[in-house]
Amino acid sequence: MVPLFFVYFALVSILAGVLTVALRNPVHCGLALLTLLLHVSGLFVLLNAEFLFAVQIIVYAGAILVLYLFVLMLLNLKTEERHLHQRYAITLVATLGIFGELLLLVLRSPFGGAKGDAPTSAVLEVGGSQAVGLKMFSDYVLQFEIVGIFLLGAIIGAVVLAKTPTISDERP
């Protein structure tokens, strides 16, 4: 069963990704992105990451994507007649080529690493969220705080950038 779901989620994710970058209408791209996000979270489920699955849908699909769509609607962009750069082909081919090579390299090399201390059974015992929490607030507290500050900075930056310019903002 699991492989089937995996194949479905993976294929649709890839398809949705391709559509996101290939569609002409930005709103259509946004919708494709939504599809992608949902299916990626499906992949998370298959990997026993329930917390992340939930967070993905709530934050990424529910907040970030909505934000994208808000701005898209706000700007009310017209569909351009050219949605890709000039000479996009060369970039496409080059990137595909390099990436293909890197992928082959990756698959050829042995991967694996040291096993951690949280096998699936242990995780299922405490529950996904708790497991994440336990790890985050013990080993990764500093990073957590830093991300928090980063988000603060982002908020302030976004607010400052996007607020309506008042008369005092104008240069004399």
Binding site: T91, A94, I98, E101, L102, L105, R108
Partner: protein
């Protein structure tokens, strides 16, 4: 030691006068100048007397070396002096007669602007002549030789603002130079053969020479003598040299310089005795010149020119004497000639001075009453030169002719006799035309007529006395005190004086000589005193001969056309060559330099500056190319970032970890 000092002082004193008068003469009065000039020569004369006394006492030939001059290598030459009887005679003549002429010049050149310059040059002449006669090697002789040539140039051209004087001076120097070229060849040959230039060494080893080499050397030296002593063919400068002041003519061309050639031949008699061909050349040139010059002197109208030709003629006699082997007789005649020729020139100078510069005898006459003392001295000189017994000229000239006859040179004797006749004739002609007869003096000169001051008359009287008694040291001929004095130098190696069995011959020859002289006088007396018109009639009846003689046989014109003009044209050719070819080369070098300079400028501008500018340009170029990266387009930057990232990852993966993308197929 004292003797050496005496010897060195003789030329040194006039040299000192030259330096003082030459460098500082314009700072003091003429009186100081002439005291220095005459005084130095006078003291030299006294020292010469001292040397003479020493020579009489010891009779030894001495050499005094003043300065070791050239040494090293094969050539060693000292500035040295040789004192032997010949030198003593020459010293006395040069300093004695020179002193008298210097004293005379004080009066003659009085008031001249170049007074000090005159005495400087005269003293320089004395120095050169003394070096010439006193030198103990050919090089010192040559220095004196050239020195007297230079001084004759300076003194003949004394009146430098006169074109004729300048030309005459140049002519004298150039003709002398031609002679000197031959002279130098002779000196070179002497050195080549003997490796030394000292007289003593050369004469001692002269016997080693082959006859041919001796003849060559003798002839080369003779060329110099011909130039210096105005023999045929290099005599043309002497008559023109009369452009100089009269004391100059007296000193240089009568008493001293021209006799340098005779002295040289006598000094080198060892060489000449080995070369009979050279000796006969000397004799014939002498004899020929004697007659030739006498013939020209017959019809000249300038008082000094007549005396000049007579000098050339008398020098011919001296050469004739040398040529027949009578070296002592040549020197004897040199001495007596110095006396009476100087006397004649100075008297002529007195006449010219009295007539305010008139020199043409056609404008003289009847001066006997106005200038008695001058007349007396001039007459004395004329008697002496004509060879009237018992004045000095008789003894010396007769001795020459007798020696020639006795040794079988009858043709030369004939030449000499004819020359003596002509000499007597033209000298008395000169005397009569100047002092006797109707006065033909121009009015402007007549008012000036007065006897010369005592400073000029004194030397005249002294010279007249010498002309009278100066012959007696040489009496009897070939056996007098003079000959015995000179015997160590000239007597023993010459052809033997054979007088045995000819005791009756000598008085006969003396009588013939006197007869010749008297007949010459008689003819002149007839033509110029008794019937003056007869001279003109004679001239009119033989117009062509008269004109030829008057124009000196056109020799000067011949030389001009034959020698001078071609040389001038050759000079023009060299000038063309110099201007076009040599200067062309120089200019080409200049242009080459210019071109290379232009080239180097180009090089500097384009290559050096270019290479410096290239740094800037390449910077510019690089910037222009790399600038294109800054497109301002963000996606371009993104692409570059991605590319760089991939490159980094690839490098890291492939090189660092060691796996290779090439081995993909194998895995």
């Amino acid at each position: 030691m004292a003797f050496e000092l005496l010897v060195l002082a003789v030329p040194a004193l006039p040299l000192l006068a030259v330096i003082l008068n030459g460098l500082f003469g314009n700072r003091y009065s003429h009186r100081v100048a002439y005291w220095l000039g005459c005084g130095s020569v006078g003291v030299s004369f006294l020292f010469a007397l001292g040397i003479f006394a020493e020579m009489l006492a010891t009779g030894a030939t001495r050499e005094v070396v003043a300065y070791p001059w050239i040494f090293g290598g094969t050539l060693t030459v000292n500035l040295g002096f040789l004192i032997d009887p010949l030198t003593c005679v020459m010293l006395l003549v040069v300093t004695g007669v020179g002193f008298l002429i210097h004293v005379y010049s004080i009066g003659y050149m009085h008031g001249e602007e170049g007074f000090t310059r005159f005495f400087t040059y005269m003293n320089l002449f004395m120095v050169s002549m003394l070096l010439l006669v006193m030198g103990n090697n050919y090089l010192v002789l040559f220095i004196g030789w050239e020195g007297v040539g230079l001084c004759s140039y300076l003194l003949i051209g004394y009146y430098y603002d006169r074109v004729s004087a300048a030309k005459a001076a140049t002519k004298a120097f150039v003709v002398n130079r031609i002679g000197d070229a031959g002279f130098l060849l002779g000196i070179f040959l002497v050195f080549v053969n003997f490796q030394t230039l000292d007289y003593t060494t050369v004469f001692a080893r002269a016997g080693q020479l082959s006859t041919g080499m001796a003849t060559t050397i003798a002839l080369c030296l003779l060329v110099g003598a011909i130039g210096k002593s105005a023999q045929i063919p290099l005599y043309t400068w002497l008559p023109d040299a009369m452009e100089g002041p009269t004391p100059v003519s007296a000193l240089i061309h009568a008493a001293t310089m021209v006799t340098a050639g005779v002295y040289m031949v006598v000094r080198n008699h060892v060489l000449y005795d080995m070369a009979p061909l050279a000796l006969s050349t000397v004799a014939w040139i002498g004899g020929g010149t004697a007659l030739f010059a006498a013939s020209i002197g017959l019809v000249q109208n300038d008082i000094k020119r007549v005396l000049a030709y007579s000098t050339v003629s008398q020098l011919g006699y001296m050469f004739l004497a040398c040529g027949v082997g009578a070296y002592a007789a040549a020197i004897f005649h040199l001495m007596t000639h110095a006396f009476f020729k100087a006397l004649l020139f100075l008297s002529a100078g007195s006449v010219i001075h009295a007539l305010a510069g008139e020199q043409d005898i056609r404008h003289m006459g009847g001066l006997r009453a106005k200038l008695p003392l001058t007349h007396l001295s001039f007459l004395t000189g004329t008697l002496a030169i004509a060879g009237i017994f018992p004045l000095a000229g008789f003894w010396s000239k007769d001795e020459i002719m007798a020696h020639a006859f006795v040794h079988g040179h009858y043709a030369l004797y004939g030449l000499a006799a004819l020359g003596a006749f002509l000499t007597a004739f033209y000298m008395f002609r000169l005397t009569y035309l100047t002092f006797y007869g109707e006065s033909r003096v121009e009015p402007h000169a007549a008012g000036h007529l007065h006897e010369s001051p005592w400073i000029m008359m004194g030397p005249l009287i002294a010279l007249a006395t010498l002309s009278v008694i100066g012959g007696f040291p040489g009496v009897p001929p070939e056996a007098g005190w003079f000959h015995r004095f000179l015997n160590p130098v000239v007597g023993t190696t010459g052809p033997a004086e054979a007088h045995e069995g000819s005791t009756g011959l000598l008085p006969t020859l003396m009588g013939i000589a006197t007869a010749i002289a008297l007949s010459g006088w008689a003819l002149a007396h007839y033509l110029y005193k008794i019937r003056p018109a007869a001279a003109h009639e004679l001239a009119d009846r033989t117009p062509r001969m008269y004109r030829t003689l008057l124009n000196k046989y056109y020799v000067d014109e011949f030389y001009d056309a034959g020698v001078v003009e071609p040389l001038k044209r050759l000079g023009a050719v060299w000038d063309w060559f110099d201007q076009r070819v040599i200067d062309g080369v120089v200019r080409a070098v200049g242009r080459l330099t210019e071109t290379s300079a232009a080239f180097s400028t180009l090089f500097e501008t384009y290559i050096i500056y270019g290479s410096i500018n290239i740094i800037g340009y390449s910077n510019h170029l690089a910037a222009r190319v790399l600038r294109r990266l800054q497109t301002g387009m963000v996606h371009h930057y993104a692409a570059i970032i991605v590319a760089g990232l991939f490159l980094l990852v690839h490098l890291l993966w492939v090189w660092w970890t060691g796996s290779s993308s090439v081995g993909l197929a194998a895995r």
